[in-house]
C-alpha cells in the first residue's frame, strides 16, 4: 500500500497515534507528528511511497523512530516551534513551526548520514539512465540539486538528491529517492522548467534561505530497490552565463574530492578506501560547468558509454 491510498484524515490519524511506517530506499522510518502541515506535505510529496503497513502495531521494526513535535514551553503561544526527536531525544534546536516539514527532511538526512555505516555515504546526488549512473558530488550552492531535479524531469532516474549510498561489498549504488530539496531562485527555475512537477509550499527564512521540495518521479520511487552501477563522477558547478563544458579530472584527484565529500569515509577505514577505489576505478570523472539547463541535460544525454572502465 502506498501513502496515496490513505485519505488525508487517515494519514493524520496514523501520524498522531502509532505513526506512519514509511519506506524510503533501504530504510523504514516510523514518523509521528501532530503538525497538520507535515501530514499535508507527506501526503503530497510521498504519495507514491510504500508503507510498511504496521499501522496497528506499535512495536514493529523501523530503522528510525522520528517525531516532529511542538515544544510545550511558553513560546508556543506567541512563536510556535517544531522540534525533531530521534528515539525521543532532540539532536537539534527547534525551528519555527513553519519549517516543520523541511525539518523532517533534514532530520531524515541526518538519520541516514549519522547511522548507516554499513554503507559508504557521499554528499552527492545520483541519477541513472540506461543502466549507467552518474554521481554528482558538490558542496551546497554548486547547483547540484537544480541540475539533478532538471535531469529527473527529463527522464533520468533519481537515486538520491543528497546522500549517495555505496554498498561496501560491490561498490554499487543503493537508491534513496526522496523529495528533491531546492533553494531560492532554483525553485522558480524548476517550476518554469517542469510546469507539471509537484512542489511543496516554499518556506522562507530558513538557514538555507527559501526552500521547497519537489516530488520525485513515480518511476524512481517504484524502482527504489534497484541498485545501479556508477559510470561517471561529475562535479557540477553552476556559473552564471558560463558556457556548458565538461573537463576531465584524474581518478586520483576525484578520489580525494569524494573522500572530502563523504560523511563516513574515515570512519570506515580500509573498507572505505577499498570501496572508494573500486567506485572511482569504474568511472569516468569530470568537472562540469553550466548555466543553461537544456544544454546541461543534452550534454548528460550524450555522455559516451563505450569507454567506461570495467
Amino acid at each position: 500500500m502506498n501513502v496515496a491510498a490513505l485519505p488525508l484524515a487517515e494519514l493524520e490519524c496514523r501520524l498522531n497515534q502509532n505513526g506512519l511506517w514509511l519506506r524510503t530506499g533501504p530504510f523504514v522510518s516510523r514518523i509521528q507528528t501532530t503538525i497538520r502541515s507535515v501530514a499535508a506535505d507527506i501526503s503530497l510529496l510521498y504519495a507514491d511511497y510504500p508503507l510498511e503497513d504496521f499501522g496497528a502495531e506499535a512495536h514493529a521494526f523501523a530503522d528510525f523512530h522520528i517525531q516532529i513535535a511542538q515544544p510545550t514551553n511558553l513560546r508556543r503561544w506567541f512563536k510556535p516551534q517544531a522540534m525533531f526527536l530521534f528515539d525521543g531525544a532532540s539532536p537539534f534546536k527547534p525551528l519555527p513551526l513553519d519549517q516543520a516539514f523541511p525539518l523532517l527532511e533534514w532530520g531524515l538526512n541526518w538519520c541516514v548520514s549519522a547511522h548507516a555505516n554499513d554503507l559508504l555515504i557521499i554528499h552527492a546526488a545520483v541519477i541513472e539512465k540506461n543502466g549507467f549512473a552518474a554521481i554528482l558530488p558538490a558542496p551546497p550552492g554548486s547547483g547540484k540539486s537544480t541540475l539533478c531535479a532538471a535531469l529527473v524531469q527529463r527522464g533520468w532516474r533519481l537515486l538520491t538528491d543528497e546522500l549517495a549510498l555505496v554498498r561496501l561489498t560491490d561498490g554499487r549504488l543503493i537508491p534513496l529517492p526522496r523529495p528533491v530539496s531546492l533553494k531560492n531562485q532554483s525553485i522558480d527555475i524548476l517550476r518554469d522548467y517542469a510546469p507539471a512537477a509537484v512542489f511543496s509550499r516554499p518556506v522562507s527564512d530558513t538557514l538555507k534561505g527559501t526552500v521547497a521540495h519537489m516530488q520525485p518521479p513515480c518511476n524512481s520511487v517504484a524502482r527504489a530497490q534497484e541498485a545501479a552501477s556508477a559510470a561517471w563522477v561529475i562535479f557540477p558547478k553552476y556559473q552564471a552565463d558560463a558556457t556548458t563544458r565538461l573537463e576531465p579530472v584524474s581518478q586520483s584527484r576525484t578520489f580525494m574530492r569524494i573522500a572530502d565529500n563523504s560523511f563516513n569515509y574515515s570512519l570506515l577505514g580500509t573498507r572505505g578506501f577499498d570501496t572508494l577505489t573500486k567506485l572511482v576505478g569504474s568511472c569516468l570523472c569530470y568537472d562540469f560547468t553550466y548555466s543553461n539547463l537544456d544544454e546541461a541535460v543534452a550534454l548528460f544525454n550524450s555522455l559516451p558509454t563505450d569507454n567506461i572502465p570495467k
Binding site: 581518478q251 586520483s252 578520489f255 580525494m256 569515509y265 580500509t270 578506501f273 577499498d274 572511482v280 576505478g281
Partner: protein, 112 residues
Amino acid sequence: MNFNPTSSQAFMLSGSFMPMLEAHREWRIADSLHFSCWGDEYVVYHALSGDTHLIGKAAAHILMALQQAVTDTQSLSRSLAAMMGVRSSTEFMLEMHRILSDLNKLSLIEHR
C-alpha cells in the same frame, strides 16, 4: 640531522652532493599502507592514522621500494634515478631529500 646545502663538508665527494651521514641512513615504511594507482598519481591510505594522501610517481616509487626492504637514502636515490631515467645531479638530490622529508612528515616513512 639537519641538511645544510651550503656546507661543503656535509657532502660526499662522489659527485652526488649528498650529506654523507644522510646517504647511508636507512628508511623503513610505515605499517598498514594501502595504495591505489591511476596513471602517474597514487592515493595512499595509512590505516594507522586514517589519513589519505595524493602522491606522485617519484614518492610512490620510494614507498614501493621501501615496501620491499629497509633501504638507505643512497640506494633509494639510485633506484629512483634509474626509474626516471635521469642522472643523480644536485638538483635531483635536493628533490630526493624534499620527498623523503615530506614522506617522513606525513609519517609514511621513518628512519630505522
